[in-house]
Structure formats: C-alpha cells, structure tokens
C-alpha cells in the first residue's frame, strides 16, 4: 500500500487487487480501482487541490459528489485535455494525469494569492465602482482582469473523441438510483412498464453506499442494493443507465441525460463514444435525486481540511480512506454524529463535536458520548488555523440568540473539520420542470410543492429523510407512476429498514466569529466564487435586495457548481438582512444543465461531414471530374465555372459567356425547385398565387410567374408549364424550393381548402440540362428524332415530350439567357448520360459547359432579375420595373392589396436600373453604393446599391444593375459609386444591355 497512508484497512468498495497509478501536478500516486481522484488523493494525504477564483485561496475537497465547488481539475493533456472537472467525480484509471488550475507558478506558491492580501479592496461588485477614470485606461484594466479570468484551459485543438445521441421513450423515467429510486424502479418495473433508471454515479445505491449503520431486511444496505439491481436487470423492459446525469427537465416531460460512457476507461475503445446524450420522453417521471448537505458558514470555513460531514462518511465507508486523523465535527443536526461514529469505527480520532444546538440528546448523541467524545453544545467554531491544511480550531460558546460568542476560546487541534448545516433536497430538476417549491421549516429547506408536469418526487429530494420512509414512498410512487402510464400493478410490500434515529436541527445561517462579520477572517458562502457572508450583507445594504440581484452582484451561485452548496445559505443570510421570510426571498431560477454538460455531447455526430447535408446533382460527378469550381447555393453545391488550365476566373467566365452567345453552352440546372401540380382548380390556384394571369395557359405552354408575399414584396419566380389537362409543372428558384412548396400548401389548406388541387415536390425526379445558344438546336437535333425543332413547331415558351439520346425527356423551350435555349428534363438516373451525350454531340459545335457565374452574366446582359440578388424581401415588382407581370384585371392575388398602398408606388422608392461605368473596363463591386452628391468624406447620402455587376464580353464592357432611389426617373443621370480607394462615375440606364430587341431568342 505504498504511499496510501490514509487508506483504511478494512473498509471501502474499492478493489484492492487492482492498483492504479496516476499523477497530480506531475507527481505520481497510487490508488485503487473504484477510487475517485478525490478519494485517491486523500488516501495519499493530498489535501491542497486548487485555488479559488478571485482570491486564489488554497482549497481542498469539500464534498464527495457533483456538488463539489473547490476541487477542480484539469484532466489529461493535449487535445483530450478537459478543464474544471470535479476531482470528486473522476474515476481513476491507469495513466490518468490531473493538474490543479488557476494558479501560477504552482499550487503551493500562487502569485495570484496577492489578491487575498488586498482582499479588502475587492468586496462584492468592486469593479462597478472603479476603473472608470480615465476612460481610456479601462481597456488596460480590463486586459488585466481578463487575463485573470477563467479556471481551467481549453484544449489546443480538435476533440479526437466521439459523441453519440440517443432518443429514448419511457413509461417511467426514474432519476437517481439511491434507495428511493431503486424502490421506485422495482415497483414500476414489476408492472411490465418500460422503465429507465439513471444515476449520475458509477454505482447503484446512492447514499446507502456511504452508510455502515443501517440495515434493510436485516441485510447490509449494499447487499440490498446488489439484489435489487439484479432483480431489475432481469426485467426486460427496465433500462439501467449508470454514469448518466439527468441534466435538463424540459417541457412536456422531455428530459436530457449525459452518460459518461467511457471517461472512466481513460480511452474509449474504437467506435465507442466518450459520452452519450440521452433525449428522453417519459410518460411519467419519478425524481429520486436525494439531498445535498449544506456547509456551515463560519470563519475561514474554506480551508483545505474543511469537509462536508456526509462526504467524510462517504470517504470512510465507501472509499476506505481517512480524510483526517483527528477530526472536529461541526454541526447543527444529528446526522454528523453518524460521521463521528463512522470515523471512530475506522480508527480515526474525533477530537470534539461542536454543535450549535443548545442541548443535544437522543441515541446518536448518547452513542457518541459513550465513546468519550466531547460534545460542545451551543458552541461554534470561531477560527481555523492552517492555510494549506487545517491544524486547529478555536471554539466558543454562542450567545443567547446565536449572533455572537461569549466566554473564552478553546483551541482544539485537528486536521479535519467535518461540518453539517442540514440538508437541501435536490429539487433542481423539479424546479426546472416548473414545479413550485415550498419552504419546510422543520428541515429549513425548500422541498417540492405543486408539480406542473407528470412527475413525482420521492426520498430525500422530496424531504423524506428516513430510509424506511424513502423505500416505502419510492415503491408507492413507482407503482403509481406505472399505473398512470397505463400499466397494472401494486406497490410491493416495503422492506424493513433500520437506521439511527435523528432529532431536529437548528438553522444558524452564520456562525459568529470573534470579530464583527467581515473584519477578521472570511465566512465563505460560495466557495468557488469567493463570496462571503459579508459580501451578501453588503449587497443587501447597497440595495441589491432581490435574490436575483444578490446573485448577479456578488456572483453567488454562478460558478461551475451553480451554488449547490451555497444558494440556500446565501438567501437565508439575505433574508436575515431584509428581515424577511426565506420563502418570500425565494430562490434564483434553476436552469439546465444540472451539472455542466459537454458541448461535444450536444453536438453528437453532427460534426465534420455530418454537420449538415451537402446536396449534389447527378451531374455533379462530371463537373468534379472536369475541374469545375463550385459554390454553395443554399444546401446545394453548384458548378460555379469550369476553368481551363491556366485560366483566371475572369478569363474562364469571359470564354464561357461568349461561347454561349456565339455557339452553344450547357448548364446543369437540376437544382431548380420543381413542383408537380394537379387538379381541376390548379389554374385557379396559380392565378391567386402568381401576380399574372393563369387561367388560359394551353397544354404544352409555359409562362413566367412572379410570387409575392402578402406584403407585396417579391418572394420567388419561375416558369410554370401546363403539361396536361389540369396538370402543371412549376419551377422555383434553387433556394426557394422548399419554401414555395410550403407556401402553396399553406394557402391551400388554410385559406382555399375548397380548391381541388394537389402539390408534390419532384425536384430530384428530374435531371435538368439547359442548352443555350444559336447552335443549341443543331446539337439537339442530332440526338432527338421525334421532335420538330423548327421555330414554328416548337416556339418559345413551349414544352414537348420526346426522346433525347434515347432517353425519354421533356423539353422546355425557355430561356434565362435570351438565346435560343432548351431545358431538357430526363429521369434523374439518366442525367449524366444525357449530359455526356450532349457533350459528345456538341463537340463539333464547340459546346461549352458553364456554371452559375456565366449564367448570372448572361441573364444580366438581358436584364433578367435573380430573386435574392435583385431582391431582398423589400423589393416589389414595380420597383423592378416589372409592372407588366402584375395583373390589373384580376380582382385579387396574394400581395395585391399591399401593392396598392401609396408607398409602394412612391417615386422615391429604390428602383432597378442599369449602370454603365464611365470607363468600360471598370467593373463595379456588387454591394457598392450609389451617391448623387459626392462628399470628400463619409457620411454621405446613399441612393442605393449595386445588385449585380459583371464584365460582359458580349457588350465589350462592364455592366451593372442597381436599386436606387427614384431610379426609374434617373435614366441618363451621372452618379457616383464611392469606393474605399476610388470613386467610379456611372450613368444610369435601362437595366438591359444586350439584344435589346430580343432578336436572338429563335437562334
């Protein structure tokens, strides 16, 4: 047992046959499997674990569970390093590396501890009162403050581990696997209900594992736990999840849990997650989360060696380690006497029991006295000696009302103080569920009151503190929950349980010291954030009287422990200053997570390539193989341009753009949204949704349509084709597809349910290849025998079915370039084949693949808008000069009435125009702003912005479109686009630049 000099020979549930080596701050130690880092350090006599946030006071271990505020650890190194872990929850494994935090250069000599020297300058909220003058210096002060911020460190780079999520459903979810939770699970499980039982620790049994003085059905409690767990494991519908903290209780019985799947193994086996986020929907929830012990607030109660009494018992009984050789117990209740007995039993010496109660009687007190332990009744600890570890305490008698001390101080040597200030039921989840708390005067604690979701609380978290009662209540509520979830069964008979009987407590929220509060030594309330009783009182004095103000002004309860050990003490002290009831002061809001939860677990596998889908067309692989550059358009990847070797962006685009107008170009247009619309009222429906007229579109004919929102602003556009009687094929913008379909459904279902029409998305049903340019007809004719391509037989805005390269196809003669153009739709599986056939057939015509950039230039040459580029949700059709598509005759369509407001036609609106730069080679940046009156310096009044701007090789100059104030009346004006480094002079024109007569459409 090398070095483990504080290991108790015959106690604990650790596996002594499995020694484990670990390091703390670089020094190597040994513990056993089953130890936490805290218990293993205690076994090795290490008590100085960390430094506090503000004063850098030396700190040790306060607790034995997840409420620990002090013993925070940086675990592991490199990218697996993790800050702020509680030593009390880390299960040790071979090779574990732990380090203390928030100290420099080392834990024992921490320079930051000078703060402690100047502590009187740093009361609660001091920073609000200073650093204001001179103003410019605040940034420097802040730099220093920031430098001191934080506890541990983030790892340097990407997390190598894997996280999973799982959805679960339960008839009954039971949180907490102590006696109450196990009992509830047994009862619920027996009914055949689907039960999930979760506990945040590595072992079932909860507080039972820490006790040596009670029995269940005549058995040691651990035995009863083992048998119960075995029984539960045999039930097929019961799921037991260890190391799983239920972190959040959300609406409608939705809870989250964080399971630490392989943290305790050191490294996760391949493909096994490190942690798993459970998302549980439960018909009923039974909370059995136990209770947390409260510290006592006395002078220098933060010294290493001051520990919660129940934690001491846990270390002794569960881990077989002695947190001190000589203990002073400081308490306001009987439970700490069990600790005294446990210590004695483990050959630890109890130097004295200091009890604030005026007279202490009962079986536990008798037992303690029988061992010869001195009990100081009506006494308090008034000072603690020893900075890095307790060496002795001074004890004095309390005065009549407990606010001062009398008599002389007695000094007692000790290396451990085990304190107990009573119990706070763990009502966090109950309160998160929006249940109302009530104050229990006898316990001096908040307990669950009215629930607002389908839940029950049992055991210590319900204020039911006795073992027998907890078991009985657990069984009852477990069975009840299962019944309410629709299963039949009764609660099994409760086992017989015995434990020492306990009396009441005396809530004494501050133990007076020798001097007035705040003058000598510190009474800590919130250990991690260094909030003292004096700070709480100061805040109240300064008018921060709401408990929420108190929290925010002093930072009480805002540390990584979220005030599990401090909040009730703080608000009790506040209520005392305010001379108000504790329940009237109330608690701060309990928020998820119950204990801090790993960000990676919320993320799960939604990282890297699974972060978000990337959508690709069936022709994408050709583009990739042929050197295309891509751009993201919504979720889609689209070919942006196809550079040839050595070409610049501009060269490639110029080449593609010219190729289309001179010969023929080919574009993958598959991403366009497509909606199949059928039904006798389809035309009527389109007529209401689009701004133009739709009632008379013949079969085989296409029409361009514009959709507005009800506020009159442009929402989407596209070509819709009548492909049969009462049958239409609508196209939408790539980004708008999903929205448009929902839009149609919404109007149909909620406004015009009487219209007979159906919509179905068919976007990916079709691969769409657009072939554009004067030679496109010739290319197509080579591949297609069953369609007459003559301008008469196949006019602009017509659709025909035929066979292209042997593939059944729909051909649409529509054009986004102003050139002769066909959009060929084939079943998606043939998309690539079609593309390749067209490329082959087009060879002799120099067919040129092009991407979205060239498409944009070509349409801009013709002045066609792109929704989302020329529009941004604030642009109406009149602004775009598209009055021609807004029907004056139709009585109504979506957005019509809004267009009739005066503001919609105001001459002052931003209207679409063309801009020509003075120097034809200058290409304006998109997003540049246009001004009329140039000033040497901003600010200057802006007229609007450049929406589209390109070099047009077909025009031999740059072209641009812009939305500018009163633009329609400005044609011919000279304006300016002031850029960072120069001003560009522009002339306002029509937003059309090429083929103004529209002569090219027939090829």
């Amino acid at each position: 047992m090398s070095g483990q000099s504080f290991r108790i020979r015959d106690k604990g549930r650790i596996d002594r046959s499995k020694p484990v080596r670990f390091t703390f701050d670089g020094k190597s130690y040994e513990g056993f499997e089953g130890d936490t880092l805290a218990s293993a350090l205690i076994a090795n006599g290490v008590h100085l674990i960390g430094r506090s946030f503000k004063y850098h006071r030396p700190r040790g271990i306060l607790a034995a569970g997840s409420e620990e505020p002090n013993a925070l650890i940086q675990l592991g190194g490199g990218n697996k390093s993790e800050p702020n872990l509680r030593a009390t929850q880390i299960e040790i494994f071979d090779g574990l590396e732990a380090a203390s935090q928030n100290r420099w250069p080392c834990l024992k000599f921490d320079v930051g501890a000078v703060n402690s020297v100047f502590h009187r300058l740093f009361p609660a909220g001091f920073y609000y009162k200073t650093f204001m003058w001179p103003a410019s210096l605040w940034l420097k002060y802040e730099h220093v403050i920031r430098h001191a911020a934080g506890l541990g460190k983030a790892p340097p780079d990407r997390d190598p581990d894997r996280y999973e999520k799982v959805h679960a459903h339960a008839d009954v979810l039971i949180v907490g696997g102590g006696p109450a939770g196990l009992a509830a699970a047994l009862a619920a499980g027996k009914t055949g209900a689907r039960v999930i039982l979760a506990d945040e620790t590595a072992d079932w049994g909860g507080s039972l594992l820490s006790e040596s003085d009670c029995e269940i059905d005549g058995k040691e409690p651990a035995r009863w736990v083992e048998e119960s767990v075995a029984e539960l494991e045999a039930m097929p519908e019961v799921t037991l999840v260890k190391r799983c903290t239920i972190t959040g209780y959300y609406d409608h019985n939705y809870l989250t849990g964080l399971e630490r799947v392989s943290d305790h193994l050191g490294a996760a086996p391949e493909h096994t997650p490190r942690q798993r986020l459970w998302k549980i929907r439960a018909k009923r929830v039974v909370l059995a989360t136990g209770a947390l012990e409260r510290p006592l607030v006395f002078t220098d109660n933060d010294r290493p060696g001051v520990m919660l009494s129940s934690a001491v018992r846990t270390y002794v009984n569960r881990y077989g380690v002695l947190p001190g050789r000589k203990t002073v117990i400081f308490t306001n209740n009987d439970d700490a006497y069990r600790t005294a007995l446990a210590l004695e039993d483990a050959h630890g010496r109890v130097a004295a029991i200091v009890d604030v109660r005026t007279s202490v009687t009962g079986p536990l007190a008798d037992a303690v006295r029988a061992k010869g332990i001195t009990v100081y009744e009506n006494h308090g600890i008034v000072s603690v000696q020893g900075t890095q570890k307790v060496t002795s305490v001074e004890v004095m008698q309390l005065d009549a009302n407990g606010t001062g001390v009398t008599g002389t101080a007695k000094s007692v040597n000790c290396d451990l103080i085990a304190m107990s200030g009573g119990w706070n039921p763990t009502v966090h989840l109950f309160s998160q569920s929006k249940g109302k708390l009530t104050w229990d005067t006898e316990m001096a604690a908040f307990i669950p009151g009215t629930a607002s979701q389908a839940l029950a609380s049992t055991g210590a978290c319900n204020g039911t503190m006795g073992l027998a009662d907890s078991l009985k209540e657990g069984l009852k509520l477990g069975a009840e929950a299962a019944r309410e979830a629709g299963h039949k069964g009764r609660a099994p008979a409760a086992p017989k349980a015995t434990e020492p009987e306990q009396g009441g407590l005396r809530p004494l929220w501050i133990t007076p010291g020798k001097a007035k509060l705040g003058r000598k030594g510190k009474h800590f309330v919130d250990f991690q954030n260094d909030v003292t009783a004096a700070d709480v009182q100061l805040a109240a004095r300064e008018g921060y009287r709401s408990v929420e103000h108190l929290k925010r002004y002093t930072t009480t309860g805002m540390g990584t422990d979220q005030g599990k050990t401090s909040n009730v003490n703080a608000l009790a002290i506040l209520s005392d200053v305010l001379a108000s009831d504790i329940p009237a002061v109330g608690t701060t809001t309990f928020r998820p997570p119950y204990t801090p939860a790993t960000i990676g677990a919320y993320t799960g596998r939604n990282v890297g390539k699974l972060f978000e889908p990337v959508r690709k067309t069936r022709i994408d692989e050709w583009a990739r193989a042929n050197g295309a550059k891509f751009e993201h358009v919504g979720q889609w990847m689209r070919a942006w341009y196809f550079p040839k070797q050595g070409e610049t962006f501009r060269q490639a685009i110029d080449r593609e753009v010219k190729a289309v107008r001179d010969g023929c170009g080919i574009l993958d247009a598959s991403t366009l949204g497509k909606i199949d619309i059928q039904g006798p009222d389809a035309a009527e429906f389109l007529n209401r949704i689009y701004t133009n007229a739709w009632l008379k579109l013949g079969v085989g004919r296409c029409r361009y349509g514009l959709m507005l929102k009800e506020d009159g602003m442009v929402m989407d556009d596209g070509v819709t084709t009548c492909i049969g009687e009462n049958h239409y094929h609508m196209t939408t913008t790539t980004g708008g597809a999903a929205n448009v379909l929902s839009w149609l459904e919404e109007w149909h279902q909620t406004e015009w349910p009487d219209l007979k029409v159906f919509f179905s998305s068919v976007t990916e049903q079709w691969s769409v290849v657009a072939i554009n340019g004067p030679k496109s007809r010739a290319v197509l004719q080579k591949l297609c025998e069953d369609v007459d391509f003559s301008a008469e037989a196949f006019p602009f805005m017509a659709m025909k079915e035929g066979t292209v390269a042997g593939i059944p196809a729909r051909l649409y003669r529509i054009s986004f370039t102003g050139e002769l153009s066909f959009e060929i739709n084939v079943p998606a599986r043939y998309g690539l084949a079609l593309w390749e056939a067209l490329m082959e057939a087009g060879k002799e015509f120099d067919i040129t693949p092009y991407g979205t950039e060239t498409m944009h230039v070509l349409r801009a040459e013709k002045g066609f808008i792109i929704v989302g580029q020329e529009t941004d949700g604030t642009v109406n059709p009149l602004d775009l000069g598209m009055d021609w598509i807004v029907s004056k005759k139709k009585p109504d369509f979506v957005g019509k009435r809004s267009l009739e407001r005066e503001s919609m036609a105001s001459p002052d609106r931003k209207q679409l125009v063309g801009l020509l730069t003075e120097d034809p080679q200058t290409v304006l940046p998109e997003g540049g702003h246009v001004v009329e009156k140039l000033k040497p310096e901003p600010p200057m009044e802006m007229l609007g912005h450049v929406t589209s701007s390109y070099y047009s090789p077909n025009c031999g100059r740059s072209i641009a479109m812009a939305l500018i104030k009163g633009g329609h009346a400005r044609h011919g004006q000279t304006l300016h686009v002031p850029l960072e480094d120069k001003v560009v002079k522009v002339t306002v024109t029509e937003p059309r630049f090429f083929d103004l007569e529209g002569e090219r459409i027939d090829g």
């Binding site: 959300y250 609406d251 409608h252 019985n253 939705y254 998302k279 929907r281 929006k434 607002s452 009800e710 506020d711 929902s742 459904e745 919404e746 279902q749 909620t750 406004e751 349910p753 109504d892 019509k896 009435r897 809004s898 009739e900 407001r901 005066e902």
Partner: protein
C-alpha cells in the same frame, strides 16, 4: 421540447412542426374596400396573447397538414388541438376566441362579409 399531437400522426416533438402563428386570421374577401390601416390590421397586427392562445401549426416533417392548437403561452401547456376550419371547443379556447380583438376589426368584418366557414 413541446409534445404536439398531430391530429393524424399522433404525438411528436415540436421540431417536426412548422409554426404558423395566430389562428383564425381571416383574409379579407374584398381587400380593396379596406383602408390602409384596416389592411395593416390584417397583415401585421398580432394578438400575441399571454395565456391561452389560438395558433396554427403544420406537421412539416410528417404529413404536412395544418391544424389549430390552443396553447397556454405562459406555461406552454397544450390545451386543445382541432382541425383547420373549425372552432375551439375547450372553455379556454372558446374564451380566447371570443376575446380576440379581431372579432371587432374591420378586416375581420370584411372577411366575413365574403366568406364563411373558416
């Protein structure tokens, strides 16, 4: 996470649904008869009730059907779910429906003049 019972698919998590805001906003049948202010009532003004609130949801990741819900926006408790085109039946729902200011608005009157049912 709210648990919303789609009238067709049954109870599902709220992220399967699309929220459609206040229910029973009737679209004026003769918008041209409304003043700009009255049209704005229909277009922009919200009831935004704290307490039982009548609202629309669509099961967008499921059957894509729209339906109405009475939900207490103060507690997020769902009180009633009922089909499009019908009125609430729960006492809270009826009270919320009848107390809605829209019943008196010009836009609503205009809508009622033209259509009935919804």
């Amino acid at each position: 996470m709210l648990h919303i019972t789609c009238p067709w698919c049954g109870p599902r998590d709220d992220n399967e649904f699309h929220y459609g805001g206040e229910a029973h906003i009737l679209r004026p049948a003769a918008p041209e008869k409304l003043s700009d202010g009255e049209w704005a009532e229909y277009l922009f003004l919200k009831q935004n009730a704290k307490g039982p609130f009548l609202e629309r949801w669509s099961h967008s990741a499921g059957c894509r059907q729209w339906f109405n819900v009475v939900r207490n926006t103060a507690t997020d408790e769902i009180i009633e779910i009922y089909p499009m085109g019908e009125l609430p039946k729960s006492p809270e729902g009826i009270k919320a429906y009848e107390g809605n200011w829209r019943r008196q608005s010009a836009a609503e009157k205009n809508a009622k003049a033209g259509v009935s049912g919804t």
